[in-house]
Symmetry: C2
Subunit: 412 residues, 2 copies
């Protein structure tokens, strides 16, 4: 099954909104085995909408359109679709009742403009929008399908999960593109590529695809097969080999995050964790706390951004800061050791770094970061020199700290 995605909205083209809908739809549909031919973003312009849809229907069996279904006047997708299918808009009763309930339940005033949310092209099948007021729409046209969805990501996702994907699965039986993704932290793309050149050659011989998906501090490695599950064991064995070569970097599979992985390990070991952060300013704690159920192992932490709080709240000795500077192995160590006591936890992560843009010296360039992990029986520290970019330094500090904790939990 070939799919094209069309995203509508000036805000996507002028960069005011990042298109997360296309990536979510791409992920869901490739899981079903669909082949995503193309993803196009176009302005809120009815001619463009119709022209792009027309072209997409040449190559694709299914076209999914997101955006332009809101209550406001810049939303014109519905009318454009009605025109394309030589159809007209009419109020759909059940949708109108849903919209009315939606407003009364939230004690919000029901406005004239909201009635129009229930107007849809007569020929479409409604895909109910439980979380919002703009319904999804399913059109069939000479064996092909066009789905139109609201652009608000969580509404779009809910409609697809509840209504769109089940219908797609019923209509098409697809031979799937199978893939598995392995995740590595703290390793460079070209170094990794060099170290697995032999594996890459073998994959090629077996007609398996390999892709590198780098982001700051992380590389996701994807091995894929066009023959569905058939080669899944081969793919597993390649990943086993890669895992063996990079135990310090390889932390998991699929969409599992480092914070989720750590959560599993902490629960398995029945231990707790806390954080003492300076340059990352709470982002490590937030990452750990973003996992549902984190209260089972995450106690909390201290953001000791100022030196005063490093001393008063954590207990770092003023003379240590005086002598070595706040960004030093000695201070990171004291943050982790005293922090572990203060928080009464089994493991404590501490980070002190120079995120930038100011504060550098010759000995300590921007990006210099010390991370310390206090465990029940020892303390390990590591120095990193990241780069000259505040946000990236923070991100890489967070990921490196989480990976150091993972290594302590997995291998100590």
């Amino acid at each position: 099954m070939n799919v094209e995605l069309i995203s509508i909205g000036d805000e996507l083209l002028i960069g005011q909104t990042i298109n997360t809908n296309a990536s979510w739809l791409g992920a869901e549909l490739s899981h079903l085995g669909a082949n995503i031919l193309r993803s196009t973003s176009i302005p809120d312009d009815d001619k463009q909408i119709q022209k792009t849809l027309h072209k997409a229907l040449f190559d694709a069996d299914l076209v999914i359109i997101t955006g332009g279904l809101g209550p406001t006047k810049d939303d014109i997708t519905k009318q454009a679709l009605a025109d394309y299918f030589n159809d007209e808009l009419a109020i759909d009763r059940p949708t109108l009742e849903h919209v009315q309930r939606f407003f009364s339940h939230r004690k919000l005033p029901f406005l004239d403009v909201n009635i129009q949310q229930a107007a849809v092209p007569k020929s479409c099948t409604i895909l109910h929008n439980k979380l919002g007021t703009a319904p999804g729409m399913w059109f069939e046209d000479r064996g092909k399908v066009v789905i139109s969805l609201p652009g608000v990501p969580y509404e779009m996702m809910e409609i697809m999960r509840e209504e769109g994907l089940p219908r797609i699965k019923k209509k098409w039986t697809i031979r799937s593109f199978y893939f598995k993704t392995g995740n590595l932290q703290g390793i460079g793309e070209s170094y990794l590529a060099d170290q697995i050149q032999d594996i890459e050659e073998e994959l090629k011989r077996e007609e398996l695809s390999l892709a590198y998906l780098p982001s700051p501090g992380l590389i996701r490695l994807r091995i894929g097969s066009k023959n569905g599950q058939e080669q899944s064991e081969r793919i597993d064995s390649y990943f086993a080999e890669i895992e063996k070569r990079f135990p310090k970097h390889f932390y998991g599979y699929g969409t599992e995050t480092l914070a989720e992985k750590i959560g599993i390990l902490l629960q398995k070991n029945k231990v707790t964790v806390g954080t003492i952060e300076s340059c990352t300013a709470g982002k490590i704690a937030a990452e750990i706390g973003s996992v549902a159920g984190a209260s089972a192992y995450f106690e909390g932490g201290i953001v000791s951004y100022s030196n005063r709080l490093k001393e008063q709240l954590v207990g770092v000795r003023p003379e240590t800061i005086e002598k070595f500077g706040a960004v030093s192995e000695e201070v990171a160590k004291e943050m982790a050791i005293f922090g572990k006591q203060k928080l009464s936890v089994d493991y404590c992560i501490a980070v002190s770094g120079l995120a930038g843009p100011t504060g550098a010296s010759e000995q300590k360039p921007i990006g210099t970061t010390w991370i310390a992990i206090a465990t029940p029986d020892k303390i390990s520290t590591q120095k990193f020199i990241f780069e000259n970019n505040r946000q990236r330094n923070i991100t890489r500090s967070v990921l490196s700290a989480l990976n150091m904790l993972r290594l302590e939990l997995e291998y100590s």
Copy 2:
């Protein structure tokens, strides 16, 4: 000037990577006054690359291609472009020397595969990549321009800032699309639309465009004009009116974040801030600390995720938690008041909420959140009932807390 964006990479289509490059380029180019016709993501496939480029060159004066220039075998854009322009690849000496320096400086081994990074189509002009090894390329073809850039966002951005955008400005003089964006926190889209219906009508009459850009907890409102700066004063006066109608929600313009706004206000008032967080787990602190120069006003905070730490570190009374529960006005209040003392700050933000998915009761559904702000002379609290989604509840709690602090700083 008409522009088309082409993003290359299977990972974009199957949703393993979100396309942030297209939005950044869209924002930069529309600032220059370019008209972004379309943005297309396609797979790593040379036929698709050439076909899409060919089509784009029909309508556009400038085509910008990102991705597929890395050192690994799945990167094929360079060869596809050489073929399209009937050209061949050759090693560029200065680029090779840069790549070699790049590796020796980082004490990384220089590999055979890295030499290929310096191979480029002979007819292109090199756009130097200071931060990486894959150079950008500038092709001219019958008055039109094609730029090819690496897909790694920060390398792509640096090349454009240093080389691409200056060249574009030199080649084209453009009558610009002028727009201004105003940002509101904590208001619903359709309610806002209803309340500014009259303004919307007037804007239409003056041929100014209005767009709503909602994201969890925020709405960005964009008013635009196709006649460049000419109508900028009219746009300012419309925003002044909107600001007057929603002082509690309207917090700023353009790309300024709430955390940046707060930073400016705190510095102006010469006061400091700290945070005591439960469900947000450090994300408010991280948001405040993400602003460069935050150390001038941000002291730090405590992530009291467990009740034990709420008592031991912050000083919340056990009987208050016992009697009212951790998610209550009373506990949020004590977190803010005792936290302010513990941290010795002028303002203290405290949040306690039920992010979900578990822990709900009949009186306290998922999404129930109490936020308290302790100021130098008083304490204000507010209850929110967000929704049934952990990540969105955390995001909306962070934004609501920052906005409450902004109101205290601006209006008290």
